[in-house]
Amino acid sequence: MKLSILSTFILYFVQMHSQIIDNKSVTINTIIPEVALIDIESVNQSVLLNLQPNNNSGEQLNTSLVQDNSTWINYTCSLAPNSPSKKISVQIISGEIPKGTQILLLASNYQGSGIGNHGTSSGTVILNNFPQNVISNIGGSFTSNGTNNGHQLNYRLRIIDYGLLGFEDSTSITIAFTLTDD
C-alpha cells in the first residue's frame, strides 16, 4: 500500500513536470515547377564532316571516318504527376545538305552522373527539314552538365549518288533540337 501511494505521487509529479501548455503551427508551402531545359555541349559548337578524296582512282570514297562524336545533349526535365514524358526532335532549319549525300544522326542512350528517368535513343535518323525524334520517354531527370554526360550525338556522312557529288561543294547547315511532350 505504501509503495502504491509512493508510486502514485511519483507518477503525479512526473506528469506535472513536463506538461503541454500550448501549441501553435505554421504552414509550409512549396511548389516545384515543371522544367524543360536542353543544351548542346561540345568542345566546338560546330560539327565538321570533311570528305577526303580517294588516292586510288576507281575506288569508293571512304566515308567510315567522316563522322563526329564531339557533341552531347544535356537536359533537365521536371514533370507534373499526370504530364506525358518528353522527347527531343531534330530538324534542319537553314542550309542544304550537299547533293548526293545524307547526314545521319544517332543519339546514344544516356551516360553520365545525372539522376532520374532519362530518355532512350530513338535510333538513327536522316536529317531533313522535318522534326524527327532522336530521344524519347524522358521523365523527371537531369543529365548532369558538360560532355560525357547526357546523350552523345554521332553524325555520319553517307554518299547516295556519286553522280551528284560536287567536290568543290562546302556548305553549312544549321539544325535545331527541340524538347517537347511525347
Binding site: 513536470h17 501549441n23 516545384i32 533537365t76 531527370s141
Partner: protein, 182 residues
Amino acid sequence: MINMKTSQYLIFCLKRLRRLAYFFLMIGLFLTPKSIQAQLNIESSNTINFSILEINVVDAGLDFQNDFSTTDNAILLSVNILPQNLQNTTLRSWRVDIRKNDIDWHDNLDLFVRVTGTGNSNFNTSLQNDFAYQQIQDFDNLFFNGTGWINNIPIQVKLSGVSVIIPAKSYATELVFTLLDD
C-alpha cells in the same frame, strides 16, 4: 466475545475506508485543474511559401539548387507564461518542442529550423539553444528551452531535397511548436 467481533468489524471498516480514501486521492490528484496558463504566439505570418522557379536550375543538365532558406526571422515566436508575476516572467522554465505534420509532402523534402536570436524581453530571461539547424521530424523533438517571458524569438527555416526527380506539384506540411512546462 461481542467486543472482539465489534473490534474486528471496526478494523475491517477502517481498512475499507482507507482504500476508499486512497482511491479518491488518486482521482483528485489527476483531475486537479492545471494552474499553469501560457501562451505560445506566432507573431509573424503563420504561412511560409518557398518560391521555387525554373531559373533555380542554372543550366540545362543540372538539378535545382540545393537549399532554399527563409529570412532569419521568418517566424517570430513568443513565450508568455501567465499570470505575469515575478516567477513566471523571470524564473519559470519551459521548453519548446517541434515536429511536422505532413499535409501533402514528399519523402525527399527535408525541413530544417534554427533559432537565430534570443528574442526580446523586459525581464531577466534566458534562452538556451546552439543556434544550429536541426532537422524537423514527424515526432516531437526539443527545439529550445528557456526561462521567463520572451517575445519575438526569431526562427529561420530551410528546405532541402528539392529536385526535378520529384513530381512537379504543390507540397504542404505543418510545423507544430509545442510549449511545455519544464
